[in-house]
Amino acid sequence: MSAKLDIYTAKRRGRITNFLFTSVCFLATITCVIVLFVLMWNIILQGKSWLSWDFVDSFPSRFPHKAGIKSALYGSIWLIGLTALFSVTLGVGAAVYLEEYAPKSRWRKLIQLNISNLAGVPSIVYGILGLALFVRALALERSVLSGALTLTLVVLPIIILASQEALRSVPDSIRRSAYALGATRWQTVWYQVLPASLPGIMTGVILALSRALGEAAPLIVVGAMAYVPFVPESLSDEFTSLPIQIFNWTSRPQEDFHHLAAAGILVLLVVLVSMNAIAIFVRHKYGKKIRW
C-alpha cells in the first residue's frame, strides 16, 4: 500500500519538477523572443515611414528628408564581399592545415590556444591593429581594402574554429577508407573530408560574416566615420558602411535622423537576412548530397 503511494508521490513530484523545468526553459526562450520583437516593433514603427526607394538610392545629406544610405549600402556590400573572399580562403585553409596536416606537436597546441583566445578579443582591438598595420604601415589609407582586411582579422578566428570543428566531426573511418583505396592526402581532403564538413563550415561562415556586417567599432577606428557621398569603385576608395551610417544618424540631435537610423537598421536587417538565406540555401543544397 505505502509502497504504491510512494510511487504515486514520486511520480507526481517528478511531474511537477518536469513542469517547472519546462516552464523555466520556455520562459527563457520567450524572454529572448519578446525582447527581440519589442525591439523590432519599435524599429519598424520608427523607420517604416522613412523607408522608400529614394532612401535606398540617395546619398547622405544634412537634410533628413533628402538623406539616404546608398553609399553605406554599397560600402557594406563591398566590405562583406571582400571580407568573405579573404576570411573564407584564409580561415578554411588554416583550419584544414591544423586539422589534416599539422603534426600534433606543442607548436600546434600553442597556435590552437592563440586562435581560441583571438576569437574572444574585442573587435575594437583589431580596429587599432588595422589602423596601425593596414592604414599606416601598408599605406592603404581609409580604403575599402583596409576596412575589409580589418574585418577579416575580426572574423578569421571564428571561421577557423568553426571550420576545425566541422572537419573534426568527419569520422576518421572516411579518411582511412580513402587511404585504403589508394587516395592521396590531397584527394582525401578535397574529395571526401571537405565536402562532408561543408555544412558546418558554412554555418561558421554565416555567423562570422553576419558579425562582420554589423561591426562598427573597428571601422570607426580605421577612420570610416565620415560623410561619404559616393559609392566605392575600386579597392582604394573611401567608404562608409551601414552600421557606421546608423551610428552617425543616432548620434545627431535631430529626431528625424533617429527615424532615418531606424530605417537604416531595417535595410541592414534585410541585407543580413538575405545573405544568410543564400548561405543556408547553399548549405542545404550541397549538404544533402553527402552519402557514404
Binding site: R142, P195, G223, P229, E233, D237, P253, I290
Partner: protein
Amino acid sequence: MVTRNIGKAMGVLCLAIGISLIGVGCSGGSNDGTGSQSQAGNAGGGTLSGKVQIDGSSTVYPISEAVAEEFRKVQPDVRVTVGVHGTGAGMKKFIAGEIDICDASRGMKEKEAAACKEKGIEFIELSVAFDGLAVIVNPKNTWCECLTVGQLKELWRPESGVKQWKDLNPKWPAKEIKLYGPGTDSGTFDYFTKVIVGEEKASRADYTASEDDNVLVTGVQSDEYALGYFGYAYYEENKDKLKLLGVDSGAGCKKPTVEAVRDNSYAPLSRPLFIYVRKSAFERPEAVAFVKFYLENAAELASDVGYVPVSDEVVKANQDTLKGALSK
C-alpha cells in the same frame, strides 16, 4: 558523386562573390555616371575629378558636411569625404599628411604646429565661423540681467544644490528655477559643460533636455522662472520671445552680440571655428576649387547649421590668405 560537390559549392560561392563585386562596380559606376551628367547639366559645368579629404572636429563637421554636399552639386565627380573623429585626431592625421583639410574647434596648438613644421607640412588657417552660446530667461524675469561664470557653474554642475533663484542671489525670488538645456548628444552640451562646469559632459541631470531647440524656446517662453541655454544663432531667430542674459567671466557683464561673439569678448561662451588646409593640396585643382567654394559659402551655410558667420573683414582676410597661398 561527392567528389564534384565541393568544387561546385566553391564555384558557386566564388561566382556569387564575384558577381556581387562586379555588380557593385558596374552599377556604382553607371549610377554615378548618369548622376554626374544630369547634375553637371544643372550646374552648368563640373569637369574636375579627384579627391578632397577632410577630418577633425565634430563641431565644424556640420559646416564642412554642408559645404561638401553643396559642392557635389557643382562638381559631382570630386569625391569629398568629411570625417568626424575630433579635432585632436584630425590634427594627428593632418600632421601625418593623410588629409588635406583639418576641421578644428580650437586654434592649432604649438606642439601641433611644431610637428607640422618638422614634417614639412605648410598650411593656412581659415576662420570659417563662430560657435556662441546664449543663456536665456523668460521676458517677465525682471530681477536677473547677468550671471557670473561661477553662478552658472553652481547652477549647472552635477548634484547642484541650487533649487530656487534665491539660492543664486538672496535678493532674487524664492521660486524654483526651471532649467532647460540641450540633450547630451549635442555639441552645445559638450561645449557648455566643458567651459562652465569645467568637465565635458558633467551636468546636473534634473533639467528639461531636448535636442529640439524649439522645445527649449517654448519651455522658457511659457515659464516665468525658467532658464536655459542653446546656440546663439538660435536666439537671434527668437529674440522677441526670450530675454538674453549677460555672462560675467571676471571682466564685467557681457551680453552676446554677433560682434561680441566674433571678437571673442563674450568669453568663455564663444569660440572660433577653423579649417586648416595643407598648402601642398593646392597643387590639385579640385582642392583649390573646393577651398574657394568653402570660403564663398561658409557664411551662409554656417548660419544654416546654427553658427555665427564670420565678419566680412574675416571673409576678405581668408580670401587674401588663400590668394597668397595660391600665388606661391
